[in-house]
Symmetry: C2
Subunit: 107 residues, 2 copies
C-alpha cells in the first residue's frame, strides 16, 4: 500500500509521527543545524553548504515550515530562514513528554 492508516490512531500519536517524519531526513537535520549557526541564512547559502540542488533544498525547507520548525522572512529578493524558537521548544517538550511517559510505564 504505502499509505499509513492514520484514522486508527489518536491525535497525539499522529502528531508525534508527523514531527518525527519531518525530522527523519539527514538533509533536513543538516539544514536545521546550518540555519542555527548563521546570523542570517539565505537559501542559496544552504544550497552551497549542503550539496543538494536548489529545488531539493527548497522542498526540504517547505517541509520544515509545514510544522513551523522554521520561519522565513523575505528580505528583498532573498529569504532569511530562522529556527522558530517557541515552536522548537514546544516540540522538544512534546517529545520529552512522550519519552518520559512511555518509559515510566515500562516493566
Amino acid at each position: 500500500m504505502g499509505i499509513t492508516k492514520t484514522q486508527i490512531f489518536n491525535v497525539e500519536q499522529n502528531k508525534l509521527a508527523v514531527i518525527f517524519k519531518v525530522l527523519s531526513n539527514p538533509a533536513r537535520i543538516a539544514i536545521l543545524q546550518y540555519i542555527s549557526q548563521q546570523d542570517s541564512c539565505i537559501c542559496n547559502d544552504i544550497v552551497d553548504e549542503i550539496g543538494l540542488a536548489q529545488p531539493t533544498i527548497s522542498q526540504h525547507l517547505k517541509e520544515l515550515k509545514s510544522i513551523d520548525l522554521i520561519k522565513g522572512e523575505i528580505e528583498g529578493k532573498k529569504v532569511c530562514y530562522c529556527i522558530n524558537l517557541p515552536k522548537w521548544t514546544e516540540i522538544q517538550t512534546l517529545l520529552n513528554t512522550f519519552f518520559n511517559t512511555t518509559k515510566s510505564n515500562c516493566c
Copy 2:
C-alpha cells in the same frame, strides 16, 4: 529518485535521521505506548490492540528492534516485547542534545 544521499552527511546527522525515521509512524508510536503499559507484551495482543494485520505489526516490531528501542524475549511459543530502557534513555538524551545545541546557536 527516492534515495537519500546519506554519503554527503555526517554520522551524527544520519544517525539522528534513522532514529527519527523509526519513530515516524503512528503505528510504531502506538506499539511503544502499548508495550510500555503492559507487564508482559505479546505480539498477538498488540495485533488485537492496534488493529493492523499480524505481518504488519511484526514488521513494525522489526523496525523498532533495528535500533534496539525494544527487545523481545522468547517465552515458549510467545515473545515478550519490552522497551529497552538503557537505549530508550540514550536516544532521549541524544535527541535533547540535538535540540539544545541547535537552538543555542539560533539568531
